[in-house]
Amino acid sequence: MDLAFFGVQLLNGLQYGLLLFLIASGLTLIFGIMGIINLAHGAMYMIGAYLVWDLTLRLGNFWLAILIAIPIAVALGLVIERLFLDTLYKRDHLYQVLLTFGLILVINEAQRIIWGGDVHSVAIPAPFDASLQLTDNLQYSVYRLFVMGVCLALAGIIYWVIRHTRLGIIIRAGAVNRDMVEGLGINVRTLFTLIFSVGVALTAFAGMIAAPLTSITPGMGDSILITCFVVVVIGGIGSIKGAFWGAILIGMAETFGSVLIPSIASMVIYLIMAAVLLVKPRGLFA
């Protein structure tokens, strides 16, 4: 393996990892703060991609489509939280698993009714539709660099909000002791609605900015969901920092695993997870 090859693969792993982080961040936020396990998380990723595809087609502009799609995603999160999750906070995780599994069935089928079963794609938007020459025969889309930048920026923002703002303090306190925060006169219910909507929006947003890099198909969220679970478990559920490093680790492992040990590439991430759990049953950053 020469140095250029190694460098490019490092870049691939980093880019994939950062995108994984963005998808997983919503999952870990929602769990860490609200104690809700959301299986329909992958479906939200898919919804994000379809929304931006549909709106780009209608409006003719990718950026405008994202701008409109984000409030729709937030609204969707709001509706789901108020309609279904509200009663589940005090109940066992089992009910959350089942309810969100039911949601997957409904959302996936609704997607089919609204948008059909065909494969779609979104063109890489200007001004990022250029390429860099990496090696003598390999180019790299500038849009991928842009996506990396966005993911890093969002990671920074989330970290900053949680660490250094009043909202962050409330969120951290609420995660530790819900009753106490409520006793201080803070409306935890509203807080939860907010968090869930933000979590859903983050995931949907990941689907939106990933749309030009992937193909938009029914059920595209199902496989990403499991990978996100692994990321979150490795990092420590509820930990944003854990999700970040877990995602980078998985991104690198998949990238290098697929090239270096192709015979077990599909299982690499699960093996890593098993190894982490052996050493630290609650994840690396719990």
Partner: protein
Amino acid sequence: MLHRYPKRVAVIMLVLLAIVAIFPLWGPALFGDQSDFILEKLTLMVILALFAMSLDLLVGIVGLVSLGHALFFGLGAYTLALASPDFDAASLWWMLPLVMLVAAVAALVVGLLVIRTKGIFFIMTTLAFGQMLFYLISTAPFAGGTDGVFIMFRPTLTAGETMLLDLDNPQTFFYFCLGMLVAGFLFLRWLTRSYFGQVLDGIHDNERRMQALGYATGGYKLVAFVIAGVLAAIAGMLAAMQYGFANPAQLGWHTSGEVLMMLILGGMGTIFGPILGAFAYEILLYVYEHLTVHWPILMGLTIIAAVLVLPRGIAGLIIAPPWARRKPKAVEEEEGVAAHLHPATIPHKEG
């Protein structure tokens, strides 16, 4: 706490069992040409009931929510598929113990890793292990890959030269599966009422307290995990026997999700509830599929409704019917049961 239920539960279950068991008597009259097919469907429901019941031991009794239980179901199917000779029938005398052994070893290994985790970690790690085996089987050259494998001959049950049961006969096979279900039920009923079962109940209600009392809760949970795995593998083996086919999809997390749905529909923590749940789920599926090609929406909404309105499932309705619940001084026994049946109200806050 003793998993004792009102008499009507036993009556209802026995009546239902009798109705199902004598299907060959009334089936042809009611369904005509279709009765063979309905018998086949009933056999499948019986097998799925065993599968759902095995999961109830983990989810309902111990309070461990597994999203990877299909791992053992598929393992049973694949053990049968891979251990069966190509041109001959295997004997159930060694196939059944082999399936149980393989499942027990697998459950022990997986269990040792996952038992250390709690709550949501347990859900996610069981899910991940299920997917791991799914990929292993899907890509392993010896396992037939994503298209699955055939089991050309159904295992036989013989004593010396004489055939004890002709399992190739659909009716005999149906009764064989029904027998396995009843045996599995009686075993779990005995287990949950035993000392071991009481410890499991204690762990469900408050694991720390049990630890403080000196119980090595990890060991109890591991044993329960292994038992559940072995029972699921038997169900998987029966399912593979029925159609002579094993496929990686049997191991996938959607299968694990489906069996959880059967659990919630039937009512968990009751052992008998999941049996009703498996039948209810399959019947609903059949009806929905006939109604519309968009049946997943109906199924999804049914599950959501069950979670929101009927968290204790059909079993909850039987044990404490809505009309009986209004009277505060109902039979005490029922009150006790109802209280136990709602362990889910105890918040499980971990992670």
